[in-house]
Every structure is written in structure tokens, then in C-alpha cells.
Amino acid sequence: MRDRRRSRRPAALLVATALAFGTAACGSGSGSAGSDDPNTLEVWTRSNPDPAATYQRVFAAFTKKTGIRIDYQPVINFDQQLQSRASTKDLPDVMINDTALMGSYQGQGLLKPIDPASIAGHDQITDKTWSSTVGIDGKHYGIPYSRQAQTLMIRKDWLHKLGLKAPTTWQEMLSVAKAFATEDPDGDGKADTYGMVVPGSAQNGYAAWWGASFLWQGGAKIIEPDGKGTYRPAMDSAAAVNTVTWMKDNLFCGDNGVTQPGALTAVTSTATNFQDGNAGMYMTGPYNIATFDTTPGKDKYEVVPAPAGPAGGDVLADGENIYFGARTGKAKQEQALAAFLVSPEGQRLAMTGKHQPVVRIPVNSTLDAAKVRDDARWSVVQKAYEDSSQQFPNAPDFAPIKQDTADSLNAIFTYCGGDVRSQLGELNETLAGDLKDQDLLK
């Protein structure tokens, strides 16, 4: 006890000194680097400390090159913070956040429209990628920054031990999952392994986020555009009923062990069974590659395309866009930053380094993710993004649609005795209501 107290004293002194210096730095800094300074941009990203370190490196390179200073704020609970900043009508100059939130932000008037031609190097981004930032009124409201698509992470040592190969169809995936659950792939003599990891909670819409790939692979859609700027809900289709029924019967209400225990209340931060080494498959985004290389270990698993369903192998793609906050008068500086971020140099910086990379699949078409990282697994992800991926429609405000879909899927998977057709019919009516709220219902 005494030892600890003694060691704490210098630490306390250090903290106090750091605080004193910190305040001094702030005091002198606020004059030159305040948010009113036209040569300083306030930039927000939704990042934990580790990826934030990567952003910091990227922004430092930008400042060195252009002299424009960045007041960088990594914000963990981004949406809450942004909503409270919005209520004071004082937004950050530049925000980097999920693509699927664009419609929501635009609907609230938080974003400045963007002319792609005003961003130097805009022609190095493919038309397909640019098209994903078109808002409901036909204008662009974001600049693509990073893209990703889901792939299947699978334990290759387990496959090897059981003499199986990586699944390419739903049926194969199911039999591999059952084998993982029942044939003791880790060889410890205990029945403590599971087939696949599912973040199936309705919280934050996870069930819809994870389930979307299955819906598309089964030929279903959550909502579909009618080509005239309006949408209709599509969860009552035969394809949707078949797909959801298949998922319910096989993944949630079938044999034990196909999904990890607690899947119905799991969010991504609690669905850690893949890195804990007790589940063999996880269909997820490539940002987990860095984590999984540590545990279970780079040599223990492989990255393969997601198994295909009856209607193909499309997976969910998403990523981050660069957004400009409405009503700030620093257009030149913002455009310079965006141009740097999507340039080969900016993208390369954000894809490498010892901290978690913040660009997964580069939006700059002159770059190849696998080459930049010298890691062939990234070509699987890049190919999935380019050839067989779909995104949530981002023109409408997708947040309520995703949440309602997740609520409904979670309920269907929880109550095994329910009637899928009528439950999806109810969901469809709810979705129609959501679209109607946005004046988007056909």
C-alpha cells in the first residue's frame, strides 16, 4: 500500500504539470487555432483512440503540405454529440462518418451539397462509388473516403482438422457450422465450439446490418426505388419470406451451436467469440482483420467470399464518406482537405501504419488494397466490394428503416413459433409508415 502511494506521487506531479502545460498550450493555441480562424478546420471522425492515431498522422501530413491546420476531434458517440452540436447550430467543418447516415444528415439539413468537380482528383474515384453519395434531390452530399464489403472469416485450422473446405453456398455453410459445433474442431474434448458468430441484437439495428447480406443473397430487398424518386417497402415479397424463414429455421431455431450462445442480444462489441477462439465463422467487415490477426492469429483463419444464397452472393458494402457541415465559410480549405484525403498519398497513409487503418478499400481507383498492404487477403475484400456488393440506399433517411427491420428480424428469430409471413407483412406496413414520414412512399 505504501509502495503504491509513493509511486503515485510522481505520477500525480506529472499529471499536474501536464495539466498546467496543457492549459497553457490551449491558452496560446486558441488565439491562432480557434474555430474562427479561416485557416483551421474542425474535423470530426467517429473513432476510438487507436484509429484516431492513424487519422492524426494523415492530418499532420496534410498540414505539412498545405499549411491548413486541423482541429481534430475523434468522437466515439458521434451521433449523440453531433445532434447536440446541431442543436446549437454550430457544426464541425468536416465530418467523416458512415455512408448510410448521409440521408439522415441531409434530411436534417446538416450537410453542404458538393460538386464533385470541385474536388481535385475526383476523376480517380469510380462512377459507381460516386453514385453512392447522391442525395434524394440528385445532388452529391458526401465525398467517398473508404469502402468495405463483408466477407467470411473462417478458421482454416478447424477446416483442415475436420477435412472440410470453405463453404461457397448456404447449405455448405450450414453443414460446416454444424461440424464446427459438434465435431470438436479445437480438439479439447469438450463441446464448447460454435459454428458462426452473429451480432443479432436489435440495438443500433445490428440484426438488419448483419442480416442484409442474407436478404440480398436470397433475392430480397428491404425497400426498393421505383425509379421516380420514391420508394416502396419490399419485405413482404416471397423472396423475403423464404430467406427469413430459412435463417430462422436453420440459424436460430434449429440445432444448437450453429450460432454462438447469446446471439440474439449480441452487438459487435460483445460478439467476440471468433477472437475468443470458440466460433469458427464470422461474416463481417475487413476492419476486424487487424484484430483477428492477433487472436486467433493470422495463420489460423482465412478470408473468403461470403457463401452464396439462391439469388447470388451479394454482400453488404458500406464505408465512410467525407461530409461538409452546413453553413461554414471555409469551402476552399474543406475542398483541399477532401482532395488530399482521396488522393493516392492520403489514402495510402490511411491504409498503413502500426495503428488500425481507417481506409479499408481505397476509393481511389489507382490503388490496389492488396498491393498497398502487401496482403493478398485484401483482394478478396476489394473483389467483394467491386463485383458483388450492395449498399443500403443512402438517399432516404435509412436510420428508422434499418431500426424497424432489425426490431422485426430480432423478434422473428426470438419467437420460433411465429408466422414469418404475417410478421414480415407487419414490418412492411411499418416501413411504409417510415417512408411516408419522409414523403418518399410511392
Binding site: 436489435a202 442480444t265 453553413r327 423478434a411
Partner: protein, 304 residues
Amino acid sequence: MTATVTTPAARRVSGVLSKKAVVPWLFLAPGLLLALVFKFWPMAKGIWLSFFDVQPFLGDQWIGLDNYTRVLTDHRFQDAIGHTLVLGIGQSVGAILLGFVLALLLEGQARSLKIIRTAVFLPAVTATAVVGELWRLMYYPTSDGLLNSGLHLLGLGPVQFLDNPDIALYSTVAMGIWIWAPYNMVILLAGLAGVDRSLYEAAAMDGVSLWQRLRYVTLPAIRPALMIVLTLATIRGLRVFTEVYVLTGGGPAGSTDVWMTRAYTLGFTRNDIGGASAASVVLLCVTLLLTVTVNYLRKRGDAR
């Protein structure tokens, strides 16, 4: 302490009533100012926003009571009321009973009791989010989980504590009781310390049973403490959020969704600030009403 300092000072300037009246306000000023800026102003703003379709940059639109009718007619909010009541009442009653038992067991001056009391009090000072993670592990739905391994020894289970929609709410109640019982225990201990010992001796002389002693001596003596605990528990029960959010996130299938988690989802995942404000104002009104009622009953009880 402050009272003994100010009283002589005030006496010296006797006659200047206004000054005497000002001093307490001066002491209160910093707290009041903070409360004004961080509590009452946001609260007022929340009430104001609940009448609008909130779009900060496009201009808020006055929609009157629409948010209220929407929230109150939403079947998920209606379900949430039921869950809030079960959770609130279950958690409050459970935590008060357990807190009372703990207080009775751990009352006294012995040194070892102090250590045990501290240990028992720990849940109340641990961050609820941490407790939630801990209980998630304890509730792990296979025989690897702490509780299920216990059940396994008895040849039972494994129980899907959190993933079975029929059980999840009660699992949350159990965690709530665990968190709040020690908190209640401390207040009740303070109440027990005020019980006149001679009454116990007299009761012992009269040869009354343990139950009679509790019923006619202890309970009446700690009535004020019980009332405080009850009022706090009522408020806490209604606005329960963290316990549910970290343990189940309102799932599975919305079976543990309470009023606050619904309001949170509305405000922050659906970006419907107006609706979330309306839901919060409804909760504020109900809480106020309940607190006033409990207080009224307490005063009436005191008068009698």
C-alpha cells in the same frame, strides 16, 4: 457546520433581516447557477422541443401535441410502460427488502462488520456499465457461465437468462436488486442507528417474538428512512436505463425495452429529437406525480 458558523455572525448583525436572508442564498448561488445552466435550462428546452418537429438547420416546425400522441399511441412505448413497471416495482421492492435484511444483519459496531459492510456496499459504487458486463458473463447461456455452471451441478439448465424473452426482464430485475440493495442498506442502517435501544430491551423483557419486534419497534422507528428509500427507488425505477442498455439493449425482441431505452432509440438511432423529448417529458410528469403522491402520503402518515 455552516449553521454554527453563520448563526453567531447573523446574530451580530441582528435586526438586518435582509442580510440574514441573503446569506443562505449566497451559499446556494454556485449550485443554483450550475443547476440552472445544466439542469433547468436543458429541461425547459426539452419541454419546448417536444412540441416541434426538430430540424435544427431547416427550421423547427411547430406540431403541437403530435409528438405526444405519436409516442403515447406507439405500441412499443405501450409495451415499454409495462416493462418499466415490472422492472421498476420488482427492482425497488426487491432492493428494499434485501437492503433491509442486509441492514438488520450488518447493524452493529464490531470492526469485522465494517469490513463486511464495505464489501457489501461495493456494487453501489461500481459503474453500472461495469456491473452490466459482469452480469452478462454471469448469465452466459451455456454451462460455462457462472450461474449456469451452478445450475449444471444441480442437474438443471442451462437457462437462457438474457436470450429468452420470457426471462430476460426478470434477469434484469435481479441485477437491479443486486446493484441497489446495498445503497438502500446504507440509508436503512442510518435509520436503524436511531432506534432507541431501550425499546428492544423492553421488548425482550416482555418476551415478544422476532416478528413482533420488527413489526412494532423497528419498522415504525425507521419509517422516515424507508420513505426516503421508497421515494428514491420510485424515481430510479421509472427512469431505469443503464441497467437495461448494457445488459440487453432492450432485446431480445423488445422484451426488456423500458421507457428510457425507447426514448433513447427514438432520439439517437432514429434522430427524432422531438419525439424523444415528448417521451422524456411524459416520464418527467409521471415521476413528478409519483413523487408528490409519495410525499403527500408520508406527510399524512406523519400527521397521524
